[in-house]
Symmetry: D2
Subunit: 456 residues, 4 copies
């Protein structure tokens, strides 16, 4: 998963992008980049680096990024190499002049496109499907805006794109709207970014989420053009609400925290009759679902595990032995809250099961009588080809085991996955009654049905 943020018509462009990226940091901590342009003097400035936003953009680097338009990117590599060379945004010099590109998402027919492009003379300087998009655009006739929709129609996949060309900022959302792109306004400047909070925390106003298949062109504080280049069934990624997005961000008008509390309430209804003393989240991922669960079920909410926020994600323990202490050191148990209790432990999703297994063991070691794991995501049974880093089918424990086996594997008394319908009932803009099971949402990782028509 990645995050993108662009702003135009603003003399502090790079500073604003930097702040925007800070609030999108949860979407990718591997690398970060900003490209800014001084459109009057036609000078582009680039800074990209491995690590999180505040590490990469030391004040002296940020100070060098002059310009009145800028775009930034935070990256968590989904497959492919995590390296400086693949750190976005990218810039390209081509017949359209210098074009800058930031991309969140994944092109599913990337391998075929790459083969075709190379066969006909293309050379790639990055290992990234995002570069292939740019090549596809170059193969089309006409100026950038003419070529763009023609090229995009040849892609199968999920993408939120921000392109800069001179003083123009162009935003694109894929025809199904799998990946999100939000339009905001800050003073006389437009913003394009992945989540609503990134606009609002700057004091800006969210105007709308781009429609699936929408291309929007903005220049010098004005929207020049906005149209649907390709219209397909809406299929917004539901996993964003389960896991990726910030709780304070809104998707289709509803705060993600509210969706998650509703998922927790749905789980409580699914588990009606469970005998438990307390409902407890895995911090911080299960927090809102646990609150929703507690309120709906009437079971007491407890914060039985506390996260040690001083231990960074990217931290590398020097020895294997130390690495094994890591999950312990991230979660401190409050024994008084745990000892002798029947616990409903609420988390978002279960992929490989190894972390859950360690947490259940920690609770049992602290004297928990029973642990019932409740998950606000259904079983993950199929890989994502649209930009979320899920394991291969073989690695997915849900494809191999039923609930009982899973419970046994992780050492819990029971495991409950939310039902797909119940999860979808918790999110906004759900059209399942009208359009079938996952109407309006992409739930391919839970159903194996891919909106763009992939056969896996």
């Amino acid at each position: 998963m990645c995050g993108v943020f662009g702003v135009e018509n603003n003399k502090d462009a790079a500073n604003i992008v930097f702040q925007g990226l800070l609030s999108l940091q949860h979407r990718g901590q591997e690398s970060a980049g900003i490209i800014s342009s001084d459109t009057k003097n036609n000078i582009t400035r680039v800074h990209r680096g491995m690590g999180n936003v505040s590490y990469v953009f030391k004040p002296e680097y940020l100070a060098g990024l002059n310009g009145d338009i800028a775009v930034g990117h935070v990256r968590y590599a989904t497959g492919g190499k995590s390296s400086l060379e693949n750190t976005q945004p990218f810039w390209f010099d081509c017949k359209h002049g210098r074009v800058i590109l930031a991309h969140n998402g994944n092109i599913a027919n990337d391998k075929q496109l790459a083969f075709m492009l190379q066969k006909t003379g293309a050379i790639f300087a990055h290992s990234s499907d995002s570069e292939h998009i740019m090549h596809m655009i170059e193969r089309e006739k006409g100026d950038l805006e003419t070529a763009l929709p023609k090229a995009l129609k040849k892609l199968n996949g999920a993408y939120a794109l921000i392109l800069l060309q001179g003083s123009k900022m162009i935003g694109v959302r894929d025809p199904h709207g799998i990946r999100s792109l939000v339009l905001g306004k800050l003073g006389k400047s437009y913003i394009l970014t992945s989540e609503t909070i990134a606009v609002e925390l700057l004091g800006g106003k969210v105007i709308k989420e781009l429609a699936p298949g929408e291309i929007i062109t903005i220049q010098k504080g004005k929207i020049k053009k906005s149209y649907i280049f390709d219209k397909k069934d809406k299929a917004v990624c539901v996993f964003e609400q389960v896991y990726f997005s910030m709780p304070a961000s809104r998707v289709q008008g509803q705060e993600v925290a509210v969706s998650r509390m509703a998922m927790g309430a749905q789980l409580a209804r699914q588990m009606k009759g469970i005998k438990a003393d307390i409902a407890m989240p895995v911090p911080d991922s299960g927090m809102f679902a646990a609150l929703g669960f507690a309120k709906e079920s009437g079971i007491d909410f407890e914060q039985g595990l506390v996260r040690n926020h001083y231990m960074g994600r990217s931290f590398i323990m020097p020895t294997q032995e130390l690495r094994e202490h890591l999950v312990k050191m991230k979660l401190f148990p409050i024994k008084t809250s745990i000892m002798g209790k029947k616990i409903v432990l609420v988390d978002d999703s279960l992929v490989r099961g190894t972390t859950s297994k360690k947490i259940v063991k920690l609770l049992k070691d602290c004297g928990a009588k029973e642990v019932h794991l409740a998950l606000s995501a259904p079983k993950v049974i199929s890989p994502c080809f649209y930009g979320i880093d899920t394991p291969t089918k073989k690695e997915l424990m849900s494809t191999r085991m039923n609930e009982k086996d899973i419970a046994e594997f992780i050492g819990a008394e029971s495991v409950t996955f939310i039902k797909i319908n119940n999860m979808l009932a918790a999110v906004a803009g759900n059209e399942q009654n009208k359009k079938g099971k996952c109407g309006g949402y992409c739930a391919a990782c839970f159903t194996g049905k891919y909106p763009t028509g992939l056969k896996v």
Copy 2:
């Protein structure tokens, strides 16, 4: 505030100290250090640096810290300069050979001691009262263990000390027990450290908290000696439980999270009859008090503010304008939970009031109808001379304003401080009935009465 961690009789001494410091990171992020000794070959190794533990101890540095005994320190400067030179532990070469010292706390009669020491030929290479302790020891006759209690009796203040001399590790807790020191065991090694979690997360066993005035000498996995060198009225720092300690640590046998939930319940009783829709913590500091408040009052608990954990504490924003966005960017509001609500906002303490003011404004901007601030610490009216960084009297808003004025200043409908007795009723080991108002605890910052007899 600082944190200390020592381990002996262990070939992985520095690695263990490193892990211990990671779990004490909340006690000081300004600088960190470890000194290890290879007692067989009589080689001492030092690494200290500015920044947090994982930043200072890059794997290559940690790998160099061979030895079978080691002590570490994390520091948050309480007055004095925050610089590499004052980063502990310190080592000294003296008539007792090489002595290594780590100190948490503050010597209240430090200025007088320094004057006397310099007058009689002492030279100081650090700007730290910890160095003065070492000088005092050197002025006494006899070996290190003979000199130690004689010197300590001349100190007025709060201290948890760990000293290393050859294969000996010596722990000291001040006569009032203001600062904490915990004895633990990990395999065949003893541990001395500031909090119980630092022992338990390593898989070790907590043996006891050192008694006020206790000196303990450990060597090669054996306790050689343990005695009370000076016995005074017990006065454990209550602010540790209000604010500093990890919720999962135990003080006098009770988890800090439990104390905080009890403080929240006490606040609920104080505020009985308040009309509110939700109780909401300032994350993360007010979490457990808010949970206790909600349970006792029956008011719904909501997580209306989410902390952005990707923004480091030490982060420096490049411009003033950006700095002002900072408190916003650290706290994301969940508007649906806030809008139209009468809110009890629970936090730990109020010192200058500026942060609270910003948070109240954020809630009001999101449509909160009323905000009632409830604080699990009483008014701070007097500076701490024992190692906690409180402002001078002039800066303390509580000394200048009553509750009504404070509420007006921060924009809240009301402000409620927990009563001192209620706070003390929430913590373990409280002997107030027996010994008067703050029996067994130091609450000098709330009362102005200093257990070591200072006149301010």
Copy 3:
């Protein structure tokens, strides 16, 4: 100017390239890079950075560059941006698989090629003519070796190229042989590099300088193919011998130090009759010419200026005032050798004249009676389009002033430039008698006549 170094068929490939680059460091200190390939597992590893070789290749980075074939590059940007993105070697993924490219030189018709390439769909991810070469290759039919000569024939310029494809290493020297490329052997491995010393210091054997227009393909310790793809008049860059190459390197069989001593002797003949007490080099650039001058003229050689080697070239002085002390701090005068003397000061070339002016002033301040500047390069009157960073015509003092004016400007009693014929008489492989003025050498910067037929 840049330096290139490739080695194949060697399990320590990157280490050897690293050593090679160290001995080529004088050819470029702005940035350095190595790309290595593990040809069995088909894994490419890249490390590039700004700064000199030992700064960029810290042991931990070098250790990561496994592989049995590798190529490296040191760069001094000749126009264009000095940035990480333009740091070579480059890698490209294309129909020929992964191709790695290192390039020393400059393509003179680069702008036209770039325009044509972009018009027909090319996108550039670097700002470098070296990427354009790769695009040209991709536009040709057939495999890499078939396409290569076809593409090269469309280039006008100077280039020494090393390409890697799988276990193949391909070397190319431009049809005029303007830029150098040397073939060497080290055990069972072949080396391609810019100077002979880079082979010899490793203990390897120089086999030959590639012929102008030669392409050589090496694989697994064997020369697979070697032929002249395009034959033009030989025009080896003479400035290499005047300035760039290490004195210990051989060009056309003669050590550069020997050429420079011969230039000094030629200058002595030109200046016959000069009354001087000592001949003195500007260290280190004028050393060998000064020795040659002294021996031929019989005037005493003195080392009247000593260079302070601890002050790096790239060092940035914090204030303007300090920067002005810089030339002083780099050159320490030996006053006893200078005072009261008539001095012939020998240097290699005069471009803007500012440094010479400062040195002459330094000598006069130390009491020199006369200073006669003797230069082992003729007047630079025309820019280089083949890879040497000369200023524009306007900046070149030689185009605006005669010797008398120049002497006055720099404060010397006289200035003598070596005559073009005399310079050429000093270097090996000179065919001026056969082929006209600069036979066998490119002296375009001194004559304005460009061997590839440019009109300026």
Copy 4:
């Protein structure tokens, strides 16, 4: 060996010290430090680090060193640990307030002093004899200036000291004058430093070398006091002129380059009748002696070896194999100058002989017919206790072997050491006729006779 530099009464104090240290860089590359004081506001600022001056003092650090008085130090550890903690200058808080100390030299009776100091309560925070000097001063009665000479009289050793106290700068040279200290003036500011060039390159004026046993106190641009605190036989370190000092520095009025040329001439007279084609220096250490040799003997001077200045001294080669290439990579041979020649190779001194052995082999590999090594230092037979890093007696090859054996060991046809008298005849201020063999100079490393009366 170390270098010291202090300046007072100057608002750019730290910048000037920084420049001074740059020109003293050859005296120590292990670590560097500057302490500056803003005497009006009584604020001291410290920056010290491992590495050379320009590495340690990045512009942002230097910019922070405000103040009107400052002292700096470059260090090459002479025994003892090379670590951040021993990096000078030191500061101490004591009865005299804050005192800052920079020390070049070594205290020979350091162990006895340390034992006595510790026995009477001193604690050491550095592992350096310089700290012991400070302790000795503190043990004396009276103010700093009263205590200073009393303490110094108890030291046996060599020292050039700069002390700062408030706006006072105090310089001390040891009673024998073994270590150097120069007084200079720059505008309205006085400078104290180790070599004359450090004053002159800043545009300052050298006033004098401090006399042996002189203490000078300077304050606000005025010399307050200057006197001889202890008068002993003058014994200036002759090794400074053989090896350490910059050729452009003056000792007792004569440039070191001139002394070295005279040493070369003395060697030529000693070796009269030698049949050789060329005289060649080991660069850069043998340069001036070789020039002097060539001129005196009439043998042609050649620069047959060129140093690669891009390879830093401190560079660490990643593998043993690479390390062995190191001496080769530092010295490039000019084969044409070497092949078939009988060579007099001139260097400064021979300690362990390993480097000379490699150089002789390099020359022979290039075809040298004979190599005669001429050394401008006599045999080193005794360790230095005054601050120069010589090996122990066992490691010194000169103590074990005669000239013939040494020549055989290093592979040369002959080895000639300058005779002590001849060396002393080459330097200024030599009083050997008046006072015996080494009159006026310390040549203990060559004679075993220590001016301060040590018995070894």
